[in-house]
Chain length 330, copies 2
């Protein structure tokens, strides 16, 4: 498989070929960046977890049909991960796949959702259960979008990048760690370097295991509990991933001899980013959400932790045992 073309630019509009194409734009981005107001075939999308649904897919597919898009047409998806996930799925099933160009507008989506071709919507109360593997032909990155990003969402994106760095590059981790948040936010040079490195490592892994049957599972580091505490504690995804990595490292220290420096560094970083300290004690509701269904408790899942920097382990463990150990860890 070919990886998408990646372009860094200060002017997205210059790259938009309006003939034979449509734009689907996040409502908030549309109001903040007037450069997109001149395009005619535009659908505004209200990005929210509830809109990652078949209802939205229906609306988007009808929009494609109204505009008589062919397989050679182009769809520009302009927004964060929620939008890219939803539009990407719609594009992948319209006429068995129409060209899509991702324009990520959040740090999280620049470094993660826009890369690698995994899309998804929610269904039957299950997050991301419906989707396809489908690569955009192009990813257009404009760092100026980050100027209007809320601080908590910036931190969220940064922690997904921290995840990548812990997995693959202690050097990148140290670079993030030595810089203050305000310097990362204010220096285009610093943030560009960070994003480029993160994209590099993610892309490399995706090319190794596009269909997520092997090493790509490493990207689930921190995610075992993230989806559930994201819901219960109402925190952005990346922050939940930060907490998730910390929990996994504590677990791995206790049971698999992981280097304790990792959890110490993570706690320090979380504090430096002025994120609330993680409360290790998961409620029964949270544990139920993580392990979904008690009937499954005799089954096994893959977890990811680090033995040391750049030394990740994928381990198959019994759900029952993991649940009990996590419960008693606080």
């Amino acid at each position: 498989m070919n990886i998408s073309e990646l372009i860094y630019t200060d002017n997205i509009s210059n790259y938009i070929d309006e003939s034979n194409s449509v734009l689907i734009i996040d409502k908030k981005v549309y109001s903040l960046f007037p450069e997109f107001n001149t395009f005619k075939k535009t659908l505004l999308f209200h990005s929210s977890e509830i809109n990652k649904s078949f209802y939205s897919i229906n609306k988007i597919l009808n929009f494609f049909i109204e505009n008589k898009l062919s397989r050679n047409s182009k769809v520009y998806a302009i927004g964060g991960g929620t939008l890219l996930d939803t539009v990407g799925f719609a594009a992948s099933i319209y006429k068995r796949g129409i060209n899509i160009i991702n324009v990520p507008t959040t740090l999280l989506s620049m470094a993660d959702a826009s890369i690698g071709g995994k899309n998804a919507i929610n269904f039957n109360n299950t997050k991301n259960i419906i989707g396809t593997f489908y690569l955009p032909i192009q990813v257009l990155i404009n760092l100026n979008f980050l100027n209007t990003l809320e601080n908590k969402h910036f931190k969220s994106g940064l922690l997904e990048i921290v995840k990548i760095s812990l997995l693959f590059s202690k050097e990148l981790f140290n670079f993030i760690n030595i810089n203050q948040l305000k310097d990362i936010r204010n220096s285009k040079i610093i943030i560009e370097k960070i994003i480029k490195e993160a994209v590099h490592y993610k892309t490399k892994l995706v090319m190794e295991d596009y269909y997520d049957v092997g090493r790509r599972k490493l990207l689930n580091y921190g995610h075992t509990i993230a989806h559930s505490i994201e819901l219960t504690r109402k925190i952005p995804h990346g922050i939940a991933v930060g907490y998730g990595m910390l929990l996994m490292q504590k677990y791995a220290e206790n049971y698999y001899g992981a280097n304790p420096e990792l959890s110490i560094t993570l706690i320090k970083l979380i504090s430096k980013l002025r994120i609330k300290p993680f409360i290790f004690e998961l409620s029964e509701i949270e544990l139920d959400l993580v392990f979904q269904d008690k009937k499954l408790s005799n089954k096994e899942i893959d977890i990811v932790f680090l033995k040391d920097y750049e030394y990740p382990i994928i381990k198959r463990v019994s759900i029952n045992e993991l649940r009990n150990k996590i419960k008693n860890m606080s």
Copy 2:
């Protein structure tokens, strides 16, 4: 891409691994073949054009979720093209793709729909507009299913095979042509040879151009008008394709010097199969259906015709011109 494993067997049940799998079966097949009654996790599907819809996809996805299918689970799809198309699409989007095993029960689906990984549903009054490319891991063919197939559906399947033979193997075409319909129906040796050859040529083409951007378009031979006259004249798909090939050959004789033996042979074959002779005159309604939208009439489409046996041509023509020429051909 890897092509699906193909197995010919007289006993499908032997190949069904019930642990970690579900069956989706055509209602009629289920009542005719009691061998499937013993399986527990079974969903019955009423095969009809109207059920190639998101409504069915919703039902199938819920069935997958109820049975807690993982990406490693297997779905056995047992039925004709309509069922395989619908179940195949659902399987391709559940958790970004779950294993599917096709068990085609009609001649048309044995030689065509079960092979090559194209699936689709209808949406917004447009046939097959939503779908994916997604290969089954296995195709299980039991020729005994054909014993209960209605004659008109047998003929329909045979004409899709005739299409393949005209495109790629005059030898196969002659073999079909020298046998009487009743001999083909009654001799397992004859029909097995015919199906195997057809599958061989289709598979070869699919491997050359899986994503249907080049030579795979040859399989559209006879299909330009097929979908519309299928609807208006209420005839099975393959018979419409037979008429469609005939119309294309007449057109190609008139305008591109095609060998007239082809249309003569097709007329003879259609008559030998006791199919009503084709009425060349297409109604305005049919022409509108073929060319969909008058606003598109300044656009171009790809048509396929034969210059001679095994000598297919893909030609880009103006919709307007084609419409007028077809209209005045009767």
